[in-house]
Structure formats: structure tokens, C-alpha cells
Point group: C2
Chain length 341, copies 2
Amino acid sequence: MVMDKLTAELYSFLNTTGKVLAVSHQSPDGDAIGSLLAFGGILEQYEIDYVLAIDDSCPSKYDFIPGYDKIRNLKSDPLTTIFPKLAVLDAGSISRIGSAQACIDSNTRILNIDHHFASDFYGHINIVDTEICATAAIIYDLCQKLEIDITPQIAYGLYVGILTDTGRFRYSNTSSKALNICGSLVSKGVNPSLVTERLFFNTSADALSSLSWSLSNMLLYCDGLVSIISLDREHFVKDSENFVDFGLSIEGVVLGAFITEIEENHYKISLRSRCSIDVSDIARRLGGGGHQKASGCTYKGTLEETRARVIDEFTLEIQKTGLTPRELLSQQYQKINAVYS
Amino acid sequence: MVMDKLTAELYSFLNTTGKVLAVSHQSPDGDAIGSLLAFGGILEQYEIDYVLAIDDSCPSKYDFIPGYDKIRNLKSDPLTTIFPKLAVLDAGSISRIGSAQACIDSNTRILNIDHHFASDFYGHINIVDTEICATAAIIYDLCQKLEIDITPQIAYGLYVGILTDTGRFRYSNTSSKALNICGSLVSKGVNPSLVTERLFFNTSADALSSLSWSLSNMLLYCDGLVSIISLDREHFVKDSENFVDFGLSIEGVVLGAFITEIEENHYKISLRSRCSIDVSDIARRLGGGGHQKASGCTYKGTLEETRARVIDEFTLEIQKTGLTPRELLSQQYQKINAVYS
């Protein structure tokens, strides 16, 4: 085995005695859960004593990943012992592991494996690549370097991590590497059809009714550049996070909002962009935050007031670009022109 | 270049003089259009005089593929000259090329490149692989063997073919090879995000309203194993083929139908299965046809009569399996169990 410096440090982390607590971030997504389970598969092969934990419950749709039941939910089953070694997967800052922080002291050696742009390098060993599509892809590379046997737990964990973080190979982080790793995981036994069905085509009848209701309330503004959909408490379901994507999938729409009633005259707003406009600016002005393409905040007022405020903010941002609707729209297609030239 | 027999025959086809008519099937899908354009890119490199044609219009959502404008629509712009060479992409039988058949006589040398299970080997050269995910994947292999330069037209054509025929890497034909080829095409310059946005997230506001209306009419039967959605003429839109998938995405649903009003008391029925039940048997009994997992037919009667007939047929098929709802449902998860064992 020829190893670079970081891999050698990981190798030493894995070969030193001492129980490992491996954790991922609260409100875990596919990359958090998948990377954690894949890392658990590595620990297994090094015959290390370990605990896998998340300070939250893991959505049951991930329960097909081998090893899912091994993840301890610290909310219902807290841990207070101090561990000599902590491995943190897919968390940009240590605070995101929540109550798992109670399991470390100044002697705990911390390993941080992550791909978040805002990672604050809190580990003693930081294997951080902000250019890569998913934490799972970093772990895949480490498996190659450490000559780890790709067991079903590792293979399914990594496939889930990459599939979900790329939005089913949709987002701009869908690299050649993302597809090639997944191709290799399929050759190791992953059933891509099963994974996709379980994660993306396994909704509830209530969620579909709720979607139907939301879409019936969709309105377009700003010459069709903006779509706004809303959902009241009566029709609310837990599985509604992706409803905003439907409004954004309309030809010509570059900004979308999904307004959900939390309580009377209090709304949660999800904001999405598929142009150069950074919706996190709007979210921050309204006391929230997030990313350039996906942000969120809350607002107190009636539905009409909330919607009017969102339209005002969107209108302002569109004006600030100084671009015509056609120019804004063409941003989606810029990259293909680059291929031609 | 070391070539197998079939590739050598293709090589000779490409190197013999004579204009080539390259065609694909009517009602072209992504694999038909993408494979045709990719093959056009090969012809280009062999400096052969050629025409690309389909006896139909190509949906405009594919217009981002370089070379899209080169495809002649034989419906609006017929061809009557006889060609010495015909290349047919992605058509299981020669009849599927429609009026392009008028361009061949007994002297025309026919090349058939296809992956359909029911291919009838109508060519003088038949490069048919029924195990492969898409015709585009066969063409990719041929490009490798013939050392073809992967131009943007070829790369985008092939990516579109594989992406659409695997249902965005969802269907059971999603092989390791499908993902690896797409990974390699991304490294050749394909923007996977752009392709996915254009093909899958570029709907009309009317289509979303229509979807909303359809979903509000969704009903579940047979202990939740069956979902039926319907659409009347007033809410009909062209982009509604995928509505049936929403009904089928409900947890526990293994059979789905989408009933669309064609004219008064006359309905089109789309049938879908995600269990061992073969819906093409039902479609054939009602005078239609299709595949095991996706079939269609029409029915004369009121909406209530049509729906009742579909429920009867589904109930019969469920009974014939002799399986419990739980057993039918578990068929979706069989393959992951196989990985464990």
C-alpha cells in the first residue's frame, strides 16, 4: 500500500487501540447516513470496537441499507461515556453532531471526513475535499487506498450518499467521478433500481394529496420567472420538502418559493434558484439562511402578506441583476454553449 | 484496431461508397433521437454523405443535443429517393421506421443497431444486444472499437439515450456499464445537470395544473395494492404520460393505471406494474399491448365502467399469483435480500 500523508494518518487512527464513536450530523440526509454506515463497514474490517450514532432518528426510508439498525439514536438512547476516538462524517462543524459532543474531552482524537464548503477543520485529522460531490465519494477513495473489501453495507452506504447528494445525478456536483464510483458500486452488487425506488418512489397517499392541493395553489409572477406554491396546516404532511421543486420545474421559472403554514399567521418559506440569483441573501434578510440555490426562513403575517413579501424580494433581486428575463433564463443553458465553443 | 466480425462488417459498411440514410423509430424517445445523432456523428467522421431522418417530429425538449436540427421530419418533408445504404437505430422491426421504408429497395444494404428484446434481425448487418440498457450503449462500444472521437454531438446523444432508457438510472436495466459510460461521457464534456434539467424538469404550468387535477382524483383499491388516477378532456395536456408514475410511487402500491378521456365514453388506459404481474396480459385482453411493466389499451364506456373493468382485471391478476399483498410487495425488495445471502 502506497499512502499519502492523510491516508497514513487515517491508517494510524484505525490501527491505534481505543473504541471509536462514529457520528454524523443531526437531521441526517442520505450522505450522512450512507457515509456513516460505510465508515462503520471500514471499522468492521479493522476489527475495532465502535459505536455508530446520530443525535436524531434516521428516516425509515433508509432502512434497506445493511447495518441501518446499528445506528444508535442519541435522542432516545443518549451516550455519556467519553470515547478516546471520534470519527465525524459529513459535518461541516462539530456543533452539528449535537449531543454526541458530550462523548469527547481534550484527550479524544478527532477524525473529520467531509465535503462541505464551510468546513471549519475541527479534527486532528481533516480529510476534507470541498470539490467532491459527497462525503461518500471521499470514503470510496479511502477504501481504495486502504484496500478495503467493498461489503454490501459499504457499497449501499456509498451509493446512497452519492445518489442523494447529487439529487439523482441532477445537480451541478454530478461529476464523472460520481457516476463512475456508482458504476463500480453496482458491479459490487448494489441494485440501483431498488435504491432509487426506495428513496424516490415510496411516498404516501397523503403526501400525493397534499402535493395535489399545493400545486392547485401555484401562482406565477414576474413574467413567469417566479413560481410560488403554498400549503396550509390542514393539508400539511411531513414529506413535503420537495414540493418546491415542482414549481421550479416549469419552463421559464428561475426562482421558486414554497410557503408552508406553521401556525396561524406564521409561515415557513423555502426558496430555490436555478439562475445566478443567490436566494440565501433573501433568506438572511428575513432572518433565515442556507445556500445560494436553496435557502429558508420564516415569516409572520397572513398568507397574502407572506407571499407579497416573497414577490417583493424576488422582484428586487431580479432588478439587481440588470438582466432581462431571457438573459436570466439562458443562464441554465450557458454550459452547453461552452461545450460548442 | 482489432475488430470482431460484426464491427468489421460495420467498418466495411462505413467505408463502402454510397449515401447513407440513418433513421430511428416513429414516436421517437430519447434513445431513438440520441442514438441517431450519435450515429450521425460517426458518419461525419467517416466523411460519408448522409441524411438523418425520422418519420415523425422530435419533441423540442431534445433540441439542446448538438445536431438536433439536422434530423429531417419525413412527415412534413418526405423522402422518396432510394438509398444504397440504410442504418436503423433502436427499432425492433423495420416497420417502425414508417415512411422511411419507401427509401429502400432490394439493393439497399441495411444496418440494424438495436437492443429491443423482440428484434427481428431485419438487417444485412445486425448489431443487436438485448441485454444492454440502451441502443446508445451499443453505439458507445462501437465508438470505442472504431476509435471514434467523442464529439459533443456523440457525447450528448449517447448520454441522452442511456439516461432516458434507464429512467434516470432507475429501471432494472441500470447496469454498472450504463453508469460507467455516462461517467466517461461527462469527462468528455457532457453537462449532466443541464441534460437532466432539460429532459425532466422543464414542464409547463398547464401540465402541473393537470397533474394536480389528476392526483386529486386518485383512488386506491385492493388493500392499497392498486392506484388509479384519471384525467378528463378538459384538463388534458400532452405532457401527461408520466402521471401514472405518481400513483405507482405510493408505498404499498404495486399496480397502477392512468385513465385518460380521448372522447366521450372512450378512454385510453396506461397500465404499470412494479411486481411480478405482467400488465401486458391485461392490455392484450382489452385489445392493446406493451411490456410486462408498462402497457396500454383503450376502452369504450363511462369513466366508472372503465375504472371498474381495470379493477376487475387487476383483482384477477392478483388472485392468479396466489400471493398475499405482503408477498407481492416484497418482490420489490427481493434483490437486496439476494445481496445479503
